[in-house]
């Protein structure tokens, strides 16, 4: 790891390297403490179980230095500075917002509530401590605030532009009262917000302690040091892995949940020597439904930095990544730069397709040296009411999907995108008035490949209340997660009411407002990730293992992998396999597969 340090060590730096390392370690640890505090003191299952929160330190210029590796937003301070210039900020101030438009991408949907504390030492500004968390309910048209049916962000909850919620340690009670009045669950909201504010104060105190111990100048140097370190890491990775040239890719979202129309994210990655630019100009127009994503320019840079820096402990997500990559162009009025007041609640469908498009462009640039695409996590919202008991249940459950195969390994089976846990069957049955009748791997959903895509799952939910309304967000059915380098795409999911019965009906998978009755069985089948490399190169014994373990059917082993099993389905017929694989090898395979192998024109069309 000691080859050619790109950042001059020791000599030109006012603060010695050991001190810089101590401060950098202290900042990392302080950030982890902030998260531990949120984890420990928050109230809602969203934060506690889902871990849907973010903490960071920024330098005095508002540039990200140390943070959670979460690529949902950037540009955390700029929106605040517009209303509250830096020289008006004082020790003990706390700023608050959740408005993606007013913060210009500092946050990307309304349930995420951002708190920022400026930190001072001896009258000098040191930087900022920041924390946000996803709140359980911030108002809007449905409980939980996020609705697949929302057509404007006014339906998604209260919008708070950057405001000062504390002045020199004194809480602005008026703001607080307005804010809590707008939630259906004010106690839970207060509990969560107190936890996030406490984490912000903890971060502020830690930053002050670092400055007291090492000096403000050393802290400044350490901020610059960790940013330079990330910048160097990403520049090196780009130089090593990505040849000069210009490559585009288009990736698809099934629908915007209020219409049947699919939407796409298009990116062109251009590299010329040290200069890398990203152009999203050919992305589709903004949607009527809530898949719009107010994307700060930093977001795709963070994505590339984290992906290319995954092996490098010095590649931490911060402003260094932003400096390593040049201009990011977006087109106003497009899916990734929507006009106010487009709805935003389901923006992660677009966010994950931004990652997909970047991976696709990388694969084109590098001859396949990039992961296959992952499916977007699944949520269903079952709002039931039992008139006999008068009990109202809100079951918001996140379900796992299959992840894209990696260039060196299979994709992960059955994982959520953020670290959200599913509800145990035994918990769901005791709390939500449902009965879960199956939970299993969705066989054949992982994209066939030398490295197989991860598989999704099947969950059968029986409605026990006498009526319920269902909202769904299940993507990657019409446009499954693509395969790379000869690997095939994952298989899509579906939602069926009363499967295997005469009145079976299939529901649109991005939609809301479906009425269900007592006794209905809801089968939710989630999609898999794309495969990587030709499935004919997957060792036959490994394919047999997949069959025995329930990931691949005997038919898919034969048709996709060219592996023939004997009648018992427990041993490989090697002779027949060789013959079949020789036959299948004649089928031309291209770099990308989404439902079928795509031509170069098709991947950008």
């Amino acid at each position: 790891m000691s080859t050619a340090p790109p950042v001059a060590a020791g000599a030109n730096r006012p603060t010695d390297t050991v001190t810089l390392e101590l401060i950098s370690g202290a900042l990392q640890a302080a950030r982890a403490e902030m998260e531990a505090l949120i984890d420990r003191t928050s109230m809602s299952p969203f934060i506690r179980e889902k871990k849907d929160y973010f903490t960071a330190f920024l330098d005095a210029d508002g540039r990200l230095a140390v943070s959670t590796s979460l690529t949902l937003a950037g540009n955390l301070v700029e929106g605040i500075l517009e209303h509250y210039p830096r020289d008006t900020m004082r020790d003990g101030d706390l700023y608050l917002y959740n408005d993606p438009y007013a913060s210009r991408g500092g946050v990307s949907h309304l349930p995420d509530m951002v708190f920022v504390a400026p930190v001072f030492h001896g009258g000098e500004m040191l930087g900022y401590a920041e924390a946000w968390g996803h709140l359980w309910d911030v108002g809007g048209s449905v409980p939980g605030s996020i609705s697949p049916g929302a057509r404007s962000t006014f339906e998604e909850g209260i919008q708070i532009p950057p405001v000062r919620v504390m002045r020199e340690g004194v809480l602005n009670e008026e703001v607080w009262r307005i804010f809590t009045r707008n939630s259906r669950f004010p106690d839970m909201l207060s509990g969560d917000v107190k936890a996030i504010m406490a984490a912000c104060r903890l971060g502020k105190r830690r930053l002050e302690e670092v400055a007291a111990r090492f000096g403000a100048a050393a802290l400044r140097d350490a901020f610059a040091f960790v940013q330079a370190r990330s910048e160097a890491s990403l520049r090196q990775a780009l130089a090593r892995r990505v040849p000069d040239g210009s490559h585009a890719f288009r990736d698809w979202i099934d629908s915007d949940a209020v219409s049947d129309q699919s939407y796409s994210v298009h990116v062109r990655v251009t590299k010329s020597g040290d200069e890398v630019t990203l152009d999203f100009g050919a992305t589709d127009d903004q949607a009527e439904g809530p898949i719009n994503f107010v994307m700060d320019q930093s977001v795709p840079k963070y994505m590339l930095g984290l992906y290319l820096g995954m092996d490098d402990p010095q590649a931490r997500m911060n402003a260094g990544f932003e400096r390593a990559i040049g201009a990011v162009r977006t087109r106003p009025g497009s899916l990734v730069a929507p006009h106010f007041p487009a709805s935003l609640g389901l923006r992660s469908h677009t966010m994950i397709r931004v990652t997909g498009a970047l991976l696709g462009a990388l694969a084109r640039a590098t001859g396949g040296d990039a992961s296959a695409a992952s499916s977007v996590y699944v949520l269903y919202y079952l709002r039931s009411h039992d008139r006999r008991t008068g009990i109202f249940h809100l079951c918001i459950e996140g379900l796992s999907v299959g992840f894209g195969a990696r260039t060196y390994a299979d994709g992960l089976d059955a994982v959520y995108y953020v670290a959200q846990k599913n509800y145990p069957v035994e918990f769901a049955e005791m709390e939500f008035g449902v009965r879960i009748e199956a939970l299993r791997i969705h066989t054949d959903s992982g994209g066939p490949g030398r490295h197989r895509g991860g598989c999704g799952i099947v969950r059968d939910v029986r409605v026990l209340a006498d009526s319920a309304t269902l909202g769904l967000r299940l993507d990657n059915c019409r446009h499954p997660a693509f395969g790379v380098n000869g690997g095939m795409s994952g298989r899509g999911g579906r939602v069926i009411v009363n499967p295997d019965s005469p009145d079976a009906r299939t529901l649109p998978t991005m939609s809301d407002g479906h009425a269900l009755r007592e006794g209905d069985l809801l089968r939710i089948v989630t999609p898999g990730g794309g495969g990587w490399g030709s499935p004919l190169e997957r060792p036959a014994e490994v394919v047999l293992g997949d069959v025995l373990d329930g990931f691949v059917s005997v038919a898919s082993a034969r048709d996709d992998y060219g592996v023939v099993l004997d009648a018992s389905g427990t041993t490989v017929d090697h002779e027949a396999t060789s013959r079949l694989r020789a036959e299948l090898a004649k089928v031309p395979r291209t770099m990308f597969h989404r439902g079928r192998y795509l031509t170069d024109e098709e991947v950008t069309a």
Binding site: T17, A228, R229, D413, G550
Partner: protein, 690 residues
């Protein structure tokens, strides 16, 4: 033991990765301590070697041993090395993949290099079968057990090579009859096959966690069973009549026969003994709140003792996988004496997580290691005497240490060798201190209110510096920090614990129902105690506890349940609110409910550790030049052997205390006092910022 003319000998044996430590308490002769090399593959050989050696040395007959307590890594290693049994897992129809899917969780967000976080290796899909049956959420039978489907599943798994069967059916914690019937069928058709039932291993809700822990139980049971049987035979052949007792993860001992039936409780057998040792040392020193820090070659184990009780967590982990059995909350971080210092691509000094281990070990071992480790830095700084490392058992080469630090750290960074070595220490100490702070804050404690108890070979060398970083003002150094785990085995009580799911609301619950369940658990604990022989009668204590949560909450806290209180349920609720406030930072008077009831029976365990001075020859005081971080110039430090310290003596830092199993660095600003029972208590006297 009153019937015995001669009081008995007590032996504690702790098996570590490199050494097997034996502590032998002989009435009238104090403690004898011995280290013998561990014997990977069959660690019982090392145990037998150590016992034979210590008995020979003490000229004691094996028949005089009245107590034999053992800390073992055999359960842990079976998992880490994937050497458990081939198991078959039986689940409810429709739920074959619960073990595979788990909680769909990734503990690290967005790391692209991720591996599955569920222990699928225990039973991949081909070794999982389902049976037709279903119990509902109120314990009602929705689908009766279809025995034909059981026969088919069991025979199929056995045909596929299952050596052990795990059964985890939905809601079996409310009604275990289906699982029990599956076991009967297995026994009828395949006598001798081990069966683990989830309603016995972990009768609590959340099917994935219950399934995983039951599968782990089935996976390690044959291995643990074989090992303990083997060791019992060996001890018996050697003339040891005392029953073999094994340390469990909660910090209490169990008879080997019981331990073999409940192997899942042995994952923290070794580390738990160290924490019990630290707790016992604290008790002697009058310290109720302490943090034990066990620093070895590759890792650092951190645990909190609050109010003289080790913190227990309801769910532990093994190799990153969840194991839902209560265990002492020991947190390992990858920093130790063997941690390697390196320069990253941007010119930053890093220490660990890679370790030189024991082979090749630090550069100064002279076994071909060239990387600079923390131990090499300690040599360069003058903290360790190269000629008296491990009591002189291993001669270190200071020149190699010097060269390694110079070549890999000092030269690339353009600093002096001493500054580089001091930098290595500062980075490592900061990392460990952050680890300790994080462990404390997650439990809702401020470390400044705690004393530090260093253990392991390297704990005492870093203790002052860690305390300085954390604002801790008192350090209690045990007489033999390097073998405190073995000592802890002698201090531990026998303990048996049983729990049962109990899904009632506190405010709607009849106390009689609680008593009925607890009576049942008490009877089960008593039956286990009956197998413990004489020790079961010493100072018997019974504690009850309840796992409690708010209605609708998904996580719970263990709260003591005091049945002879005037209003036990009201007190339980109040204590729950207080605990919730401490751990989670808030509490509201919302309705709460039981999750589990628990009974814990303990006996014996005087809390005795080695106190008196033994053996070490008195040596003259010397002095040595040492370099301290943050100071340009070296200082002279007093150097003294631990055995030469007299009771009541004060030792002002900078000073170094040497003993065979560790070296203690007393930094400036700290003063040591030697207690009557040979503990060294260091107190912070001045504000000295390193």
């Amino acid at each position: 033991m009153s019937e015995r003319a001669i009081p008995g000998v007590r032996i504690g044996v702790d098996v570590g990765g490199t050494f097997t430590d034996v502590v032998c308490a002989i009435p009238g002769q104090g403690h004898r301590v011995l280290k013998v090399p561990s014997t990977p593959g069959d660690s019982s050989r090392g145990v037998m070697d150590g016992v034979a050696a210590v008995l020979a040395q003490a000229e004691v007959d094996a028949a005089r041993i009245e107590r034999f307590a053992h800390g073992t890594t055999v359960a842990t290693n079976a998992v880490l090395e994937r050497k458990g049994a081939r198991i078959g897992l039986i689940t409810t129809e429709g739920f074959r993949d619960v073990l595979e899917i788990g909680r769909q969780m990734r503990s690290q967000m967005y790391n692209v290099r991720l591996d599955p976080e569920t222990p699928v290796f225990l039973a991949p899909g081909r070794m999982r079968r389902t049976v037709r049956e279903r119990i509902g959420s109120k314990g009602e039978v929705l689908v009766p057990l279809d025995e034909a489907s059981v026969v088919e599943a069991v025979d199929g798994l056995v045909a596929d090579g299952a050596q052990s069967i795990a059964v985890a059916l939905l809601f079996s914690f409310l009604d275990g009859s289906h699982e029990e019937r599956v076991r009967d069928i297995v026994r009828e058709r395949h006598p001798g096959l081990d069966v683990s039932l989830s309603c016995e291993v972990d009768p609590a809700f959340r099917e994935y966690e219950r399934t995983a822990v039951t599968a782990f139980d089935a996976y390690i049971k044959p291995v643990v069973d074989r090992y303990l049987a083997h060791l019992e035979n060996g001890l018996s052949s050697a003339g040891v009549e005392a029953p073999l007792q094994v340390m469990q993860s909660r910090g209490g001992l169990a008879n080997a026969a019981v331990a073999r039936r409940r192997p899942i409780r042995l994952f923290l057998s070794g580390p738990a003994a160290g924490v019990i040792g630290a707790q016992a040392v604290g008790a002697v020193a009058g310290v109720e709140d302490l943090i034990s820090v066990d620093i070895g070659g590759t890792s650092c184990d951190i645990a909190l003792v609050s109010g003289s009780k080790p913190l227990i967590r309801p769910e532990g982990t093994i190799d990153g996988y969840p194991v839902r059995v209560p265990m002492i909350d020991v947190n390992a971080i990858g920093s130790g004496g063997g941690s390697i210092a390196w320069i990253d691509g941007a010119g930053g000094l890093r220490v660990g997580p890679h370790s030189a281990g024991s082979d090749p070990g630090p550069a100064c071992y002279g076994r071909g290691g060239t990387a600079a480790t923390v131990t090499d830095a300690s040599i360069v700084l003058g903290y360790l005497d190269p000629a008296y490392f491990a009591g002189g058992a291993l001669a270190l080469d200071p020149e190699l240490a010097h060269r390694a630090v110079e070549r890999t750290v000092a030269d690339p960074l353009g600093m002096s060798v001493h500054a580089a070595a001091a930098g290595i220490h500062r980075v490592l100490d900061a990392q460990m201190a952050e680890g300790i702070r994080l462990v404390s804050i997650r439990q809702g404690f401020d470390p400044r209110g705690f004393a530090l108890v260093p253990l392991g070979g390297a704990g005492a060398l870093h203790a002052c510096s860690l305390a300085d970083e954390l604002g801790i003002r008192r350090i209690v150094v045990p007489r033999r920090p390097g073998v405190l785990s073995a000592g802890g085995l002698l201090a531990a009580p026998v303990e048996h614990e049983m729990s049962a799911a109990f899904a009632e609301r506190l405010d709607r619950c009849d106390l009689a129902a609680v008593r009925t369940v607890l009576d049942g658990l008490d009877r089960q604990c008593e039956a286990l105690m009956a197998e413990e022989g004489a020790m079961a009668h010493e100072d018997r204590r019974v504690e009850h506890a309840a796992d409690v949560c708010y209605v609708g909450q998904g996580y719970h806290l263990e709260i003591p349940l005091v049945l002879d209180d005037p209003d036990p349920l009201q007190r339980l609720y109040r204590d729950f609110l207080a605990a919730h406030d401490r751990v989670y930072g808030h509490a509201t008077e919302a309705p709460a409910r039981f999750v589990n009831l628990r009974s814990v029976h303990r006996a014996g365990g005087a809390g005795e550790v080695e106190l008196a001075e033994t053996g070490d020859s008195a040596a003259p005081r010397g002095s040595r030049t040492i370099w301290l971080p943050g100071r340009e110039e070296p200082v002279e430090a007093v150097v003294v052997r631990r055995g030469a310290l007299a009771a009541g003596e004060r030792l002002v830092g900078p000073a170094i205390v040497e003993q065979a199993d560790t070296t203690i660095l007393v930094r400036p600003g700290w003063v040591g006092a030697v207690s009557d029972n040979a503990l060294l208590v260091l107190e912070r006297t001045a504000e000295e910022q390193s």
